[in-house]
Structures are given as C-alpha cells and as structure tokens.
Symmetry: C2
Subunit: 207 residues, 2 copies
Amino acid sequence: MDTRGILIVVSGFSGAGKGTLMKALLAKYEERYALSISATTRKPRPGEEDGREYFFISTEEFEDKIANDELIEYARYVEHYYGTPRDYVERQLAAGKDVILEIEIQGALKVKEKFPDTLLLFVTPPSAAELERRLVGRGTETRDVIESRLQRAAEEAEGMSRYDYLVVNDNLDACVEQVHAIICGEHRRCARCAAFISDIKRELEEL
Amino acid sequence: MDTRGILIVVSGFSGAGKGTLMKALLAKYEERYALSISATTRKPRPGEEDGREYFFISTEEFEDKIANDELIEYARYVEHYYGTPRDYVERQLAAGKDVILEIEIQGALKVKEKFPDTLLLFVTPPSAAELERRLVGRGTETRDVIESRLQRAAEEAEGMSRYDYLVVNDNLDACVEQVHAIICGEHRRCARCAAFISDIKRELEEL
C-alpha cells in the first residue's frame, strides 16, 4: 500500500534477547527487512568486515558526516564514535524495506524526535525475575556485572512508556511473529496511508 | 499482557465487504472477539431473536437508557432508535474480549471522542473502480442506488484519515489475518500496557 519502508528502532534491556530476536526476524523475512549498519571510528577486529559489522571510517570522515548531517544519530563511547549513516537507511526505505536500528534508549528517543515516523519497539523479558535469571544463566558475568546490568535496566525502564510498542520476549518464534505482526499492522495506520487515501478520494470523485 | 479487551469500531464503504469480513473474523477467532449487539425500538422481523440480532426494547426503555448514559452511542433512523448498550460491551471487555462494533462514520468518531482508547478501523476495497464493480456485480441494485452509494462513499472518504487503521479488503482470508494482526499489535502498544510497565519497574527496583 505505502511503498516506503518504516524506520524501526529496537531497544531493550541487556538480557532481553533482542539480538537473537532481530537475527531470527531478519532470517525469516529477509526480503522485507534490512538491518542498519553503523559507522565507527574504531579499528576492525579480526573477522570483522567493512560494510558487514560496521562501516569502518576515520575520525575525520566521521566528523565530516556529523557536520554535514549525514548521520541519523551518533554517540561517542570512550574514544570512538559510533553512528548511523543516513544514506544507507534512506536507500533501503526508498526501496520499500523496513529498516531496523538497534540502539539504546537515549539514541532511540533522539531519532524519534528527529524523524517522528520512526517506530520504537522495546524488547523485554516477561518479568524482572526472568531478566535476572537470564543474566545469571549466561554464566559469563560476575555478580557485580549482573548487578550493574539490573541497575541499568531499572533506569531504562523509566523510558519504556515513551516507546510505541512493548515486545515481550518469552518464546523466540512467537516473538518473531509478534514483531512482524506489529510492523505489518503499522503499515496500515491511516497516518502512513496518505497516498492511498488521497488516491481513492480522487477516484471516487471522478466516478 | 493487558487483560482488558479493546473496543473496536469498524466502518467502511457500503460494498467494502465489512459484514462478511467481521463474520469470518469472529468465526475464526471466536474465543477472542465479541460482536456488540445493538438495542433497537423497532419490532423484530420474522426469524430475528432478542439478544441475537438485536436487543428489542420499548421506546420508553430506550429513552431511559439515553437519560442514564447507558448507551455508548445511539442514533435515530426514521421513527426508530438504534444504539449500543454499554453494559454488554463493558462486561465483554472486562472478560478480556475485544468487542467489535459495526457503525457508520459519524457514530464511530463520537465513540472515539467519548472513549479515546477505541480502535477505529476503516474497511475499503483496493480502489474506487473495484468498489463500483462490487456494487454493480451484486445485480440487486438499480443504477440510481449505486450512484447514491458511490456519492455517499465519496463523502465518507473525507473521514477516512481520522481512523486509526485502513483495512484493504481484497482477499477475504488475507484480510481476516490483516485485521487480526492489527488488533494483536495494538495490544502491544505501550499506552495499553501501563500495568505491565509499572509492574516490571517495581520488580526491577526491588531486585
């Protein structure tokens, strides 16, 4: 109906399983979705490829992009920049793909402010107890790290209600379908169907 | 997640097939949806049953309901009243059912004003030409009636953009799934998940 894709920002608690969820969604509906690729000024790690994990660019190039408003959002962690190049996203949206951006809550809210059509999804486990269980269950983190993740989750939870949709990740397959249904439904929002509405209005008047 | 149902108002052009669509939706997901039953002051026709097609009540009873704000909406056509009793709808919503109300555009907008949580769906054929084809194809209407339906559709189209979602009824089965996906997605709107959000916030703080 509307041929343009939707920009979708996905956030969620660490341990909510959003990485796995997005991978499964893209694997199942690969024609439909594109994952946004970030640009960064950090060096590639062994096995990473330019244009696959990241676009690896110099600090000068990155700062040029900032100056020319060529990034949808960006942030600086420690001494490196990370950001979302606008041209790649725009090309995918124009080609009718829904583009998925995985970023944290502050970035997500900034994107929504700049592009109000953006769809914000927040991924959460069914309960706080389950989140803790998953973090502990990984067995790779110290208790301190787990505590700090839970602390951060409590802070992030303050922003949940500013998202458009809440995705409860309990069962992976069901959750993939849930996200897909949310996005399909969103394409039918009247606010996104302005072209269809004006076409049918004109046709009805011409009959 | 949210245990309360959603009130869904469905409107659409005459000839868009919304009656057939709703029947198919309710047949496929009967546990999930309830169709609101209107009250009317007109006499039952042969084969109609009280509480099935309509609640048949007296003019006095109807006017009492108006006075006591016991109707979600009502209208008077020719010499009879038609309206939606609030108690039946409330009971179904409280039981977790999504309640579907099939009413025309003016009533739909009034319901949304009174109950902002209401979900408004507008059913349309894929094009004006297809709408005309369907009206002509019935073979039961004179050209005058068809003209007046198309005229009315042109007027109704003015209100389309005030609906939440546009449902394009091209293929019945696909359309049933589309409506179901829209409603499932809508249950995940953060605005409808306030209880879940406040629960998980509290749990995270208590961990």
